[in-house]
């Protein structure tokens, strides 16, 4: 191998490295650094290795932090439960209209994320088209409301990530060799057994990818809580946003961002170790 051939891959990947360096490493280090600084925007910040910032923000905002993970986990599970049958049906029973069905699922998502969430706010409002009607015919009591509840926020989170769950699941299920399923039936496996022991494990790569995409997106989300939530549904993303943009409290925002990122990395690492590699390898075997 000539020298040119040996450095070619590095040269080709150079733009990616530069991109990562400029837009990931530098901001990351800056965020970490700012979280350890004290001062204010006018007299300046100095790096004082102010580690207690981490404790004080944890003390003040641990409820929001835990809530974000709770909402993230519930919405991920809900999205999975909704998406799997859908992806399964399209893959096995979609026939020649498969791509049409997928397109129909994706269609609402061509509209901006914020607009979609605002539409839900409109639909679910107290005297809106759903609740207003139900109240007028006396099915639900006057005081019922959906907005401002944890349910509304989790439902919004679930709805907004559906394609990220359905698409990887669909790809994984679609790839399953039909003869393997026939073989399971030939070996006297009932439908349930064939599903649990063959189809589900074989689609685990899709499940893994879907969970990861959806969970990471939802834990850090702040749009759903801001638009559909109320007092008591604030997520950590909202706190970070307010600290940065409204209160100009950069150390608090940076410390919270760092903590969130660290916990996420740990969870993902644990997840990948426990289910990830083995499940994916099994599926490929």
């Amino acid at each position: 191998m000539t020298l040119r051939e040996r450095i070619a891959p590095y040269l080709l990947s150079l733009p990616t490295w530069l991109w990562l360096g400029l837009f990931f490493v530098v901001p990351m280090v800056t965020v970490l650094s700012v979280s350890l600084q004290t001062g204010n925007p006018d007299t300046g910040y100095a790096l004082t290795w102010h580690f207690s910032e981490f404790w004080s923000v944890l003390k003040q905002y641990h409820v929001e932090l835990l809530r974000s993970f709770e909402y993230g986990a519930i919405s991920t599970l809900a999205a999975f439960v909704i998406s799997y049958p859908m992806a399964y049906w399209i893959a096995f029973h979609g026939g020649r209209h498969k791509s049409t069905y997928l397109f129909i699922i994706l269609l609402p998502f061509f509209v901006s994320f914020v607009i979609r969430t605002l539409s839900w706010q409109f639909i679910l409002s107290d005297d809106g088209i759903v609740l207003g009607t139900l109240k007028n015919i006396g099915i639900v009591p006057r005081s019922t409301h959906v907005l401002s509840t944890p349910f509304a926020v989790i439902a919004g989170l679930t709805y907004n990530v559906l394609p990220f769950m359905i698409l990887p699941l669909y790809v994984a299920i679609e790839k399953i060799d039909r003869s393997v399923i026939r073989a399971a039936h030939d070996l006297y496996a009932g439908s349930a057994t064939a599903f649990m022991r063959v189809i589900l494990p074989l689609s685990s790569a899709g499940i893994f990818a879907g969970f990861l995409l959806v969970f990471v997106t939802n834990v850090g989300d702040y749009v759903n809580a801001a638009i559909l939530g109320g007092p008591g549904t604030t997520m950590i993303g909202n706190v970070i946003q307010t600290s940065y943009l409204e209160n100009l409290d950069y150390p608090t925002a940076s410390a919270l961002s760092s903590i969130l990122m660290a916990i996420m990395l740990f969870i993902i690492w644990l997840y990948a170790r426990t289910f990830g590699t083995s499940a994916v390898e099994e599926a490929l075997a």
Binding site: V25, D42, G44, S125, G128, L147, G232, T242, Y244
Partner: protein, 419 residues
Amino acid sequence: MGDKERQATDSSGMDAAVLRGLTEPRYTRGQVLKAGAGGVGALGLTSLLSACGVSGTAKKVNAELGSKAWWAKQHKKGVLDFANWPLYIDTNHGKHPSLQQFTKQTGTKVNYFEVIQDNAPFYAQIAPTLQAGQSIGYDIVVMTDNTWQLTELMDINHWAIPLDHSQLPNFAKYAGSLVKSPHFDPGNKYTAAWQSGFTGIAYNPQQTGREITSVQDLFDPKFKGHVGMMSDNTELGSLGMLALGIDPATSTVADWHKAAKILTTQRHKGLVRQYYDQSYIKALEQGDTWITQAWSGDIYQANNSGYPHLKFVVPTEGVMIWTDNMLIPIHAQHPVDALSWINFYYQPKIAAEVADWVDYVTPVPAAKPILLHKDPAVGKSPLVFPTATIDAKVHQYYNYKNYKEFQTWNGIFNPIIQS
């Protein structure tokens, strides 16, 4: 990082720009390159971390700036770049008649930008440029008095050019008492009011079932789950103090804690539906809230766009008044044209035209007779021309004297909104 480079970073304070840049998706190429150079050239993590120390933006006063001698050296350029909030000037088929008349009379062409959505993000956007000693491209910006950002612009960083009042005879003659020498800018050294408004209470009489008169109504258990409060810390805290009979402008930290206590109780009892930004008006229109903290002009506009039943009240305990102010940022390219516009605007005829369209409190009371004749509905509206009874109930916001106070205030009221 080389010495030369470090020096450049320290003296220009470019890192502040990078930091601010992080809070906003807007990077200029120069900042990114500089940040990149810092990252790549770092000797080790520690030195890199220290290099990220952020120098402050506070500057010494440039005594010459805005003085008589300074103004004497400035000349009319025939162009004005005016940055304002959306839907905040008279508009007719995409044109702005008041600006057109200004151009006709003075020959100055106006570029009008509706770029200010909120004080803090706009400040975050312009601060790095001002910090770098460059023009932000606007000769007039409009900022609200109840914000820390205005104090930063005027008093901390000295990024506003003192006005030359000898060129503002119309301001002296026609500006109303509410906006003359306001507490946040004694003698109107830097600012001239654009429009003002009230933060009071709005409600839907069909749902409250009674007339609302008092701030205490926001704390009435009957409206459980249907009370709208504002997510702005300053607005929320000020209301808490009005409810306790404390004047926010002269309040103390102890008062802030007292206000936070009743607001926390209000929240814990489940009264509050949500802490809203501008979206409060939609929540009221949709029936999610029955009674809410509200800005006067919004309700006036809602009344005229399909929600005539909504009402705005000036509570018996008092009402907060805020003022959006025109100011000339430092390094403005056409300061004389900016002054000329301010003076032009303060003619009752022009102020009346703007008021007729935006429906907020005009700084020129003499516009009233003109509007009474031209558009009596607006001319008679106490929300455009406050009556003496309203004037007597007006309260000013607390004026944060330094960042520490701003931080203390936020530390007390933010946990009510976000927890």
